[in-house]
Symmetry: C2
Subunit: 567 residues, 2 copies
């Protein structure tokens, strides 16, 4: 409670007779650093919203800069360019006859007391920056590093528009108790508007909506929740924007994984006076778990390609389930004709594997090349004479060289096909099958890989199309085929069991004693812990090196990979 004293209460605009306010929820996909591209998209959506009669259009958190911008926020020239772009955008809106529209958009600001960046919402109106709010709660758990980068805001802001009092918040501000939202509860607001860059996790939509329902009750007003959509590096933003009534009814729900512009009108009357809360322009159904995760993976790949200027991909096709699912996802992301599938059989590859790889490529309409590795392997072995695991790794690394040759010579994004179970256990070859710029299924446990493959085939059948993934790839026993008769089960526990242990050890951070209490047998626990603990190095793949200057690559420099800013 004592924290509340610290907030400065700010109002923009004048009180007046309450009138209905048509609000557009602009769920857009931005690119970090691409100020011009992002501003052009804001302008386009603002025009569309205005044509539909919207008086206020809200864009996601940091939509102008892209999100998350990581240490790019620390670059002064970037912050100045973002400020200039916001003003230029306001002027363009006015020029194009959209001066009366209130455009709420996230960007980066500067705390001039310490020259640190701020996570800022601005309101563009009548050719100028009319209002501003800075995010107060700066998450620094999980994928977030905001407390490291930004200075927190100290104001609680109400926008007076059409006689309606609109309290504002940015993302984490509604996830934490107290702070500006608690203060807004005492300021008689008619609406809580929150703009968000809320990264996707399976099933998170329900969590967000339950939270919004709670906040709606607390502030005594509906909540408009606008979320970013799209992939940015390894994060996916799923959209799913919505309006939550103060009685806990969902009034609008935008679809996940696509850009969207939906509408909802804040009525002239308030509370009982307003009568039943009105419905918005659409109510997208919830997706089932497998569909949601599959679409997340496809969008992540599609946006990674687009934002890094790749139009095609290449990958090794082994005939196994992992490369088959990745290829199916790639076909959904960029079309089969933009896929180069490479079969790289060795003396240990079964005919079945080769047939399944060719079958897959044909189903997807992908380019398909066979690059046998036997002669290459023999040439290496005539110099190196390797045995055991070193000889197995050699096969995988020859394949890595071939995949990268396709990538370099044709300008293709190389896809790595490793799944979370094998990466966790180090059951892959560094610089071998782990080669690639993007790994579409690296966060899927092996049992989930099978499940998604089955879901994708079933979905195709249900739509009257042919199944993209050969049934044999789904049903056969997994093998790396790096020696005669090899099976994954020679080295790893059964995947059904392994995945349960991994979920507990990695995702719940259970230690050995916890895992035994979970009911897993000691031998399995010790095997999995040993494998996982040893695999950290392999998973990173890049060489560590000593830090001897003030700013080295790696630990203390965190830049987005996809970054279109060049000033």
């Amino acid at each position: 409670m004592e924290q509340m004293d610290r907030f400065e209460q700010v109002e923009y605009g004048q009180a007046g007779a309450r009138q209905a306010l048509k609000i557009a929820l602009a769920q857009i996909d931005t690119c970090v650093g691409d100020l011009s591209g992002n501003a052009a998209k804001v302008l386009d959506f603002a025009q569309r919203a205005s044509r539909e009669g919207a008086q206020l259009v809200a864009f996601p958190e940091m939509a102008l800069t892209g999100y998350p911008i990581e240490d790019l926020a620390l670059r002064g020239t970037f912050r100045r360019a973002a400020w200039d772009k916001a003003n230029e955008l306001a002027a363009q809106l006015l020029e194009q006859g959209l001066g009366e529209l209130f455009v709420v958009v996230g960007t980066v600001g500067t705390d001039h007391s310490n020259d640190l960046p701020r996570n800022r919402m601005v309101v563009l109106h009548e050719g100028a920056v009319w209002g501003a709010y800075d995010k107060h709660f700066l998450p620094n758990y999980g994928v977030f590093d905001e407390f490291r980068i930004f200075s927190p805001g100290e104001r609680s802001v109400v926008l007076n528009i059409n006689g309606q009092r609109i309290g504002v918040a940015i993302c984490e501000d509604i996830w934490q108790d107290g702070g500006p939202v608690q203060e807004l509860a005492g300021r008689n607001i008619d609406l809580l508007l929150t703009i968000n860059g809320s990264p996707y996790e399976e099933g998170k939509g329900h969590v967000r909506r339950d939270l919004a329902a709670r906040r709606a009750r607390e502030v005594g007003a509906p909540v408009v929740y606008v979320n970013q959509v799209g992939g940015q590096d390894d994060l996916i933003f799923d959209g799913g924007s919505f309006v939550m009534g103060q009685s806990g009814d969902l009034l609008e729900h935008s679809p996940q994984f696509v850009e969207d512009l939906s509408y909802w009108t804040l009525a002239a009357g308030q509370g009982d006076e307003a009568g039943p809360e009105q419905m918005g322009s659409q109510m997208a159904p919830d997706l089932d778990g497998d569909e949601e995760v599959y679409k997340a993976c496809v969008l992540g790949l599609k946006d990674y390609m687009a934002k890094n200027h790749f139009t095609g991909v290449c990958l090794g096709l082994s005939g196994g389930i992992d490369s088959a699912l990745v290829a199916a996802m790639a076909a959904d992301a960029c079309g089969g004709e933009h896929i180069w599938g490479i079969s790289m059989p060795s003396m240990y590859s079964s005919d079945g594997s080769k047939d399944d790889a060719a079958d897959l490529a044909q189903r997807l309409g992908a380019h398909y090349d066979v690059q046998a590795i036997e002669q290459l392997y023999k040439t290496f072995q005539s110099q190196l004479d390797l045995s055991g695991v070193a000889a197995e790794n050699l096969q995988a690394r020859i394949r890595g060289v071939i995949v990268m040759a396709y990538s370099n010579s044709k300008g293709l994004l190389a896809l790595a096909t490793g799944n979370k179970s094998e990466l966790a256990c180090g059951y892959s070859t560094i610089y071998g099958d782990a080669v690639g710029g993007y790994a579409p299924i690296k966060d899927l446990l092996k049992t989930r890989v099978w499940q998604l493959a089955r879901w994708r085939n079933a979905e195709a059948l249900a739509a009257g199309k042919s199944e993209p993934i050969p049934d044999a790839s789904i049903t056969k026993a997994p093998s790396a085929e790096l020696r005669e008769g090899q099976k994954d089960s020679d080295s790893l526990p059964d995947y059904e069991l392994l995945d349960q242990v991994l979920a507990a050890y990695i995702e719940k951070a259970h230690g050995r004693a916890d895992l035994l209490a979970d009911g897993f047998d000691p031998e399995t626990v010790d095997t999995v812990m040993r494998l996982v603990d040893r695999a950290e190095w392999k998973r990173r793949q890049y060489p560590l090196g000593p830090k001897v200057t003030a700013l080295a690559f790696g630990r203390d420099r965190r830049l987005p990979i996809t970054n279109a800013f060049a000033e």
Copy 2:
């Protein structure tokens, strides 16, 4: 000032007549997660300190757990094991007749109000944990992520020992104004004792000592500063522990880059009463810049090998300066006989390069193998028919496969030889010359590489030994030798200029306008910015992938690579 109200003032022990107190500064090298090994080292140093008459021995921040422990702190079983180990250590000290000794050591604790970890100092005495203090200021800039992981302490602690009042602090607590140290200034202390895990940066020793002098004035008492030594993953801790008198005189200075046990006695009298402040047991001289950085790199490699159980290394020897300096560092870290140097000439390799590589290996006493890549290259090309950069990369990747074959078959740590200038500009081949588990010079700009090579040779001559690095490797024009007549200067600005731009762009985060104001010409600025911005992906080398579960690898899971904990 208002923050001070929040501190609880805690005292341990009883006031009494002031007596002299002999303090040991135990500057030790620990391993993250290795509770048993670290505890054994604490016991050993405590025994040695006691034999020399010390009544208090101070170890670095988190010495019992190793530092930095990153997300390992979040594992409950680890925190319980650390608590058990501290109590076991206290009991062992008592058993071995060291019960009267006060042993100050850092470890991890738990904030039971929220089950979050704390960065804790404990005092072991008479078989028990006698006192405890929790770090208040949790850095989360640069290499630090402590605010993410730990809950901050709320106490200001004074230890009463021998009638002396000892205020305590952990590392960042003395770097920030206010907080517990400011509070200690009003508590009439005789000594400020701080335990630290302060990562090395070139020239940081002076900064630490200037800061300590300021704090000594503020609290009106000398400062004992004990720092960790050793490499942990990509961080290096340089030791250089010291005692700073309240008049700003350095009273003791431990050497950098080695474990050390030094002594200093806090006199019975205080201030004027004490007379001139007494000197400690040693006063290590400051190292010059090149020697300091060279030793830092050697220690980083040596500890990375030891803590990851490698006894030897392998690397490609091109005859160029980068691989020559790395090999010289490796010889200093593990001895030439544990180095496998591999010359991998192609049709583009000059005779000079081959001779220089052989010369280097001979000077260092390293194993030396020649693995020509021409036949391998032809075999690949008969299948792939690559040209341009793809053909150049193929050569580098064949070499990468060979280096990894040595690593796998002989159990050697593969060293990558890239320097900071070429890594920054992406002037290297992913999965090619960038292959390796450790990159000893990845934080050295190219001009610094030449400088350190000259320093190392001069140092050898001064010691009456032969120069480890062939002069030709230092003086010739740098070339990747991936096509006929290729020179680095074909693709990159002159290194003298390039390194200045890189220092401004990377280390000072200067943007384009800033760089022009720095006086660099627009063409160079644009070239360097384009190269650096495009190289982020290449530098990381591992495939990104979408995050779809609550806890994926990468962004939201930060574990140390070297980690000996398995419970």
